[in-house]
């Protein structure tokens, strides 16, 4: 099984090699389709054989010896409860993304699919990495193909958009790199006989504890990179540009997979390594998340471009995910994890759908449409299901995540304030407003433009690529436990361990040695008194 995991990650690169020799566009498409389908097929045993009862222990682990001389930097890949579903989502979307670009990409076909394959390997690597340096390498690796996808095959304003996307995310991750290197050394000194180490299992373990002052800076550095990636308000402005200009395939991967790297990073790295900072900053982050939910929705409402509207809706939806994560209880975090998948499916579907209509009309302006429901009824059905999924209709996937997230935030002891959840819940109303209004203007009413009268309905390829997404939208909506079971145990363990580690760190803190801001931020004296009181009981 370890081999299977590695094969899954690197199989797409095989296509990359093939593209060097094949010059026929059609052959390239077929190779890409076959390879991504194979990747998906190969990845299936990974989920079927996954041991959910032990989801907190990484499974199918491959571990090399030290890669760099004198450093304990290893090639470690494996899957656990946090990464499994995102990993599977990535392999699942592979062939769908390839199919979506089948006819719409006409220039540099080989290069286009090469970029997609590179992106696929990079994304899979991100989710499977259990070493921070390895994670970082994959994390950065995904930037390059996306940069080209937007920059070469994007819309009219693609250059500006891709540069903004690239530099913005790069700045964040470079800051993270500095923090990461610091952590490697610090951990080496603390638990690895002075040898630099970035093994996640060691860093997240109970032995390695970071002092409050260092935690603060490291948390800020790591989370900044992730907040930009998510993107959390107010770090989101690269997203509407990138999404609007990206080709459909790029938008889908960006929304479904790459944004999740941010939220994934928060839960995988920030929580177990910086538990104290995570808790103390939670209300502030939750505040930004709630602002993002409402702000993203309001700005989405007034967009004139369908794709930009969906992009802003992502800001709103990812606000939900971050809110759930920082509720720091099982309900909220589980909700956030399943919502990452849900957003991937529903927003992925919306981008696919917008791409299909763009292929036909070469416009994304809402005002250029109207009355399409009668012309393209099959398209209308898919669009409607994706829309309802996006606005969190019970019975479809979006509701499960949103409900758990809001419930988690409402009952969160960390946030300790029901107003986060209550304001977050207003996003439910706003989502209905902006999505249904857009849907109405595109699909309903009389046909205003002559060009729209003869649009062709979806073809077999397009139906074929949307149906699997729809199946999961309904499946998760009706039987969410089939999916949430994979992470449930690990989330429990993670939260428990983090809480324990947080207390241990506090207990070993001497308030007198701390600078006054840290004393204030972590309310050290109050918390210590409370902890000692608990222990005496």
């Amino acid at each position: 099984m370890e081999t299977l995991l590695n094969i899954t990650i690197y199989l797409p690169l095989l296509a990359l090699v093939a593209f060097m020799f094949v010059k026929n566009d059609n052959a390239i498409r077929w190779i890409a389709l076959i390879v991504t389908s194979l990747t998906f097929a190969v990845s299936l045993p990974l989920i079927f054989n996954f041991d959910s009862a032990n989801s907190h222990i990484a499974q199918y682990v491959t571990e090399s010896g030290p890669l760099l001389f004198g450093l304990d930097v290893n090639y470690i890949v494996g899957l656990d409860g946090l990464s499994l579903l995102l990993f599977m989502l990535t392999t699942f979307l592979g062939p769908i993304v390839v199919l979506s670009a089948w006819t719409s990409v006409k220039k540099h076909v080989g290069a286009f699919f090469a970029m997609l394959m590179l992106l696929q390997t990079g994304s899979l690597g991100v989710f499977a990495s259990l070493d921070l340096i390895l994670f970082y390498i994959f994390f950065e690796l995904t930037l390059i193909p996306m940069y080209f996808l937007i920059g070469i095959w994007g819309g009219a304003d693609r250059i500006a958009a891709t540069i903004k996307f690239f530099i913005y995310t790069l700045v964040g991750s470079l800051i993270m790199l500095v923090a990461l290197v610091y952590v490697g050394f610090d951990a080496g000194n603390a638990v690895n006989d002075g040898v630099f180490i970035t093994d996640w299992r060691v860093l997240s373990g109970p032995e390695y504890q970071i002092g409050l002052v260092e935690q603060t800076w490291l948390f800020l550095a790591f989370s900044l990179a992730f907040f930009i990636k998510v993107p959390l308000f107010p770090f989101h402005t690269w997203l509407p540009y990138a999404h609007t200009e990206a080709p459909t395939a790029g938008s889908v991967v960006l929304a479904a997979v790459m944004l999740k790297m941010g939220t994934y990073g928060l839960i995988r790295f920030c929580l177990p390594m910086f538990p104290n900072a995570m808790v103390e900053f939670a209300p502030y982050v939750a505040l930004l998340a709630v602002i993002g939910i409402i702000y993203g929705a309001l700005v989405a409402m007034v967009q004139k471009d369908v794709k930009k509207l969906v992009a802003y809706s992502s800001v709103s939806h990812l606000g939900f995910v971050v809110l759930g994560l920082f509720a720091l209880n099982t309900i909220g975090v589980q909700g956030a994890i399943i919502q990452m998948i849900n957003h991937g499916l529903s927003t992925g579907a919306l981008f696919l759908i917008v791409g299909m209509i763009y292929d036909r009309r070469h416009t994304r302006q809402i005002s250029d449409f109207g009355g399409l429901a009668g012309v393209i009824p099959v398209f209308a059905v898919f669009f409607m299901i994706a829309t309802f999924s996006s606005i969190g209709l019970p019975g479809l996937n979006g509701f499960v995540g949103e409900f758990l997230i809001l419930m988690g935030a409402f009952t969160s002891e960390t946030l300790d304030n029901i107003w986060f959840a209550i304001f977050g819940t207003t996003g439910v109303i706003l989502a209905a407003v902006y999505m249904l209004w857009m849907f109405q203007r595109v699909m309903f009413g009389p046909i205003k433009h002559e060009e729209n009268k003869n649009i062709k309905d979806l073809n077999a390829r397009e139906i074929g690529l949307l149906v699997p997404v729809m199946i999961f939208i309904v499946w998760i909506g009706i039987r969410p436990t089939h999916f949430t079971q994979f992470s449930e145990h690990q989330v429990n363990v993670l939260l428990e361990e983090a809480a324990q580690k947080k207390n241990e760190i506090l207990m070993s803190t001497n308030p007198a040695e701390l600078p006054s801001w840290a004393n204030k931020l972590y309310k050290v004296e109050i918390n210590l008194a409370e902890l000692k009181g608990d222990n005496n009981e």
């Binding site: 390059i144 540069i163 409402m301 009668g374 009824p377 819940t425 249904l436 109405q440 009413g445 969410p480």
Partner: protein, 669 residues
């Protein structure tokens, strides 16, 4: 038999899937209209039979039965399951939904016969029944919520069924969004409940009401009620319902009169034992209900659109039901839910039959080559239809008697019981407010009888006015005809139920006053007594009979007055006289209190302008502007590097190399 309850829910879903997938994928299937309609109707009729079987197997003292199917959403300490509950309350609702639902399906087979999207219409209807059954049979709040939002979606799809008309899809969207405002409150109520008792199961919640502080009880009750004001069209969220008449008329009958809009009443009845713990919340429910009843009734008097009159009437009657709930008359409210489902569904279907006929006239005139256009729902073009459409007329008339509260017709008993409970509540806390509400309710009852006979008499009595009012429509009465039997059979069944339906709830004192025995003739009361927490009626026999007498007098007086004013084509003159007498007040009524305009000016426009002119600009200029400013500084340094390297990826490589050097130097030193 109760263990088959899941079949009741499942069968309509199967019907939806067959017609939905069949119609979507096959051109040939779409043309099989009889088949499509039959499948859809049977998919509701069989569940009705199953529900009936279960019902006959139950007694008033039967324990609730819960069929647990599978776990739905689960995380941490939260767990919910898909489980259906059979008890005296849910089975009554299920019978109404499937029974009235099946009749309306049958009716639709005739009504929608010539519609292109026939298959789609029936698929939506089946889906609606599925969602509605989840709402009434679900065993926990979250499954109820699935039904709750599900019916909202079906309502959205069916109001905007003729989506080519922007106004109709506007109405659909408005309905959904206003409902979502209510759903927001419902969600928060669920969070509060879960935080207090750790579960959303009905049994667990209702057995642990002591876990709520009085404050939480109040807020849960109020938030649930706000949810109900959305779904059941009460102040301040009722404005979507009149617009919802844009949908096909069977939809108005099924969703916007008989079933979906009564969800809020069901919800509060389900939680009656919680509501009685918080008199303040009860008072709020009663006040909102009473106000909605009279506001909607006054608007109804001024309307000319036959369906709009019925829509405002529905809002008003729902207000009556909430008034009953708020007065502790939970069974009375449920009683009115049932009788209202009979007579209002009949009235809507009757109006559909009329509209169908008027459409036919318009169509035939067009066929003659005349370019005649008129609003087929405007009652001023009607009149005298009784001669041409006897079945429609008689069933409409019977239902009008029922809603007006004429003795022995169904509405008489249910409305009378509501008035008694409101008066009864006046004996307790907040005495004056409840007496005032009783006064308003009596006035509303008067208005109800008045506007309903205004509608019936203007439509069916007198002479057919289209020929004299519209140029080119001379002699058009020859095209008037009765609707086909698929439409009249449901009318007669519902009309019959509207007449006799009240006998399930004849008050005990009708007998016990005269006999010394403690006989119970009120079947419905006995049936629902175990599942609701009705207040006790403390009124004396004398008071009760006086209240009955007042109700009868009011109804008869209003009927006679309406007969004098609206029979024999006197309608428009009487309306003019009414307008003159009430002056600006009448203007307020016919302007519908300008509530839509107020919402538009105070919420919708400001939010839109804020988003469009402030936030969207802020996002581009300030948030992104800041990023660009930072970027600009970077670019300045970048331009220095440009002498060495060109392009961004090279820059990236450079930065990466610098990074690696940095890392290595850190390691080495």
């Amino acid at each position: 038999m109760a263990e088959y309850v899941w079949l009741i829910v499942l069968i309509p879903l199967i019907g939806f899937l067959i017609n939905g997938i069949g119609g979507l994928s096959s051109e040939a299937y779409r043309k099989q209209k009889t088949l499509i309609g039959t499948i859809a109707t049977i998919s509701v009729f069989i569940p009705f039979l199953i529900a009936l079987q279960i019902f006959f197997g139950m007694g008033a003292d039967s324990e609730p039965y819960v069929a647990r199917l599978f776990t739905w959403i689960e995380a941490g300490s939260f767990s919910s399951e898909v489980a259906y509950r059979v008890d005296q309350l849910s089975i009554i609702m299920a019978l109404v939904v499937t029974g009235v639902g099946a009749l309306i399906h049958l009716y639709s087979m005739g009504y929608m016969k010539d519609d292109e999207g026939y298959w789609k219409f029936f698929a939506y209807l089946n889906l609606f029944i599925f969602a509605m059954l989840n709402l009434v049979l679900g065993n926990n709040l979250i499954l109820l919520f699935l039904g709750w939002e599900g019916v909202g979606v079906c309502s959205y799809l069916l109001i905007g069924y003729w989506y080519g008309d922007m106004a109709k899809s506007d109405a659909a969207k408005k309905a959904f969004v206003f409902n979502r405002v209510g759903d927001f409150a419902f969600l928060v109520a669920m969070f509060l409940v879960f935080r207090a008792v750790g579960s959303l199961d009905f049994d667990i919640i209702l057995n642990n009401l002591s876990a709520f502080t009085p404050e939480i009880t109040f807020w849960v009750a109020v938030l649930m009620f706000i949810g109900a004001t959305g779904k059941s069209a009460q102040i301040p969220l009722f404005v979507w319902l009149p617009d919802a008449m844009a949908g096909p008329t069977p939809v108005s009958a099924l969703i916007h009169a008989a079933t979906m809009v009564t969800s809020g009443i069901y919800l509060i009845s389900r939680f009656s034992s919680m509501y009685v713990l918080t008199p303040e919340a009860m008072l709020i429910v009663a006040i909102i209900g009473g106000l909605t009843a009279i506001v909607a009734a006054t608007i109804a008097i001024t309307q000319y659109d036959i369906k709009k009159v019925l829509a405002y009437s529905t809002v008003s009657q729902l207000g009556f039901m909430f008034l009953a709930l708020g007065s502790g008359g939970f069974i009375a409210a449920m009683f009115h839910v049932v009788t209202h489902a009979f007579f209002k569904a009949c009235l809507f279907l009757g109006s559909g039959s009329v509209i169908h006929a008027m459409h036919h006239v318009e169509h035939e005139l067009e066929h003659e080559g005349k370019d005649v256009h008129f609003d087929p729902q405007d009652m001023r073009y009607m009149g005298g239809l009784k001669k041409y459409m006897p079945s429609t007329y008689w069933t409409f008339l019977l239902s009008t008697f029922a809603i007006a509260g004429i003795p022995v017709f169904s509405g008489f008993f249910s409305k009378d019981e509501i008035l008694a409970f409101v008066f009864n509540a006046g004996m307790g806390e907040y005495s004056y407010i409840y007496f005032a509400l009783w006064g308003m309710a009596v006035l509303t009852a008067f208005l109800t009888a008045y506007y309903m006979f205004r509608l019936t008499l203007t439509t069916f009595h007198g002479t057919f006015k289209l020929p004299s009012k519209v140029k080119g429509a001379e002699d058009s009465e020859k095209y008037l005809h009765e609707s086909p039997s698929t439409m009249t059979i449901p009318l007669w069944i519902l009309g019959g139920l509207a007449v006799i339906g009240g006998f399930m709830g004849v008050p005990d004192f009708f007998v016990t006053t005269f006999t010394s025995s403690d006989i119970k003739i009120n079947w419905l009361h006995a049936w629902l007594d175990g599942v609701t927490s009705d207040s006790a009626l403390v009124l004396s026999y004398g008071t009760k009979w006086i209240l009955v007498a007042i109700a009868i007098l009011i109804a008869v007086f209003a009927t006679v007055l309406a007969y004098r004013n609206y029979d024999n084509d006197k309608g428009e003159a009487s309306d003019a006289a009414l307008e003159k007498r009430f002056g600006s007040l009448y203007q307020v009524w016919s302007d519908k209190y300008k509530i839509d305009e107020i919402y538009d000016a105070s919420i919708i426009q400001p939010t839109f302008k804020l988003s469009d002119r402030v936030l969207a600009v802020f996002d581009m200029k300030i948030v992104d502007g800041f990023v660009n400013a930072v970027g600009g500084t970077v670019r300045f340094f970048g331009s220095l590097l440009r002498f060495v390297q060109t392009g961004v990826v090279q820059t990236y490589a450079l930065v990466f190399i610098i990074g690696v050097i940095l890392v290595l130097s850190l390691i080495i030193f």
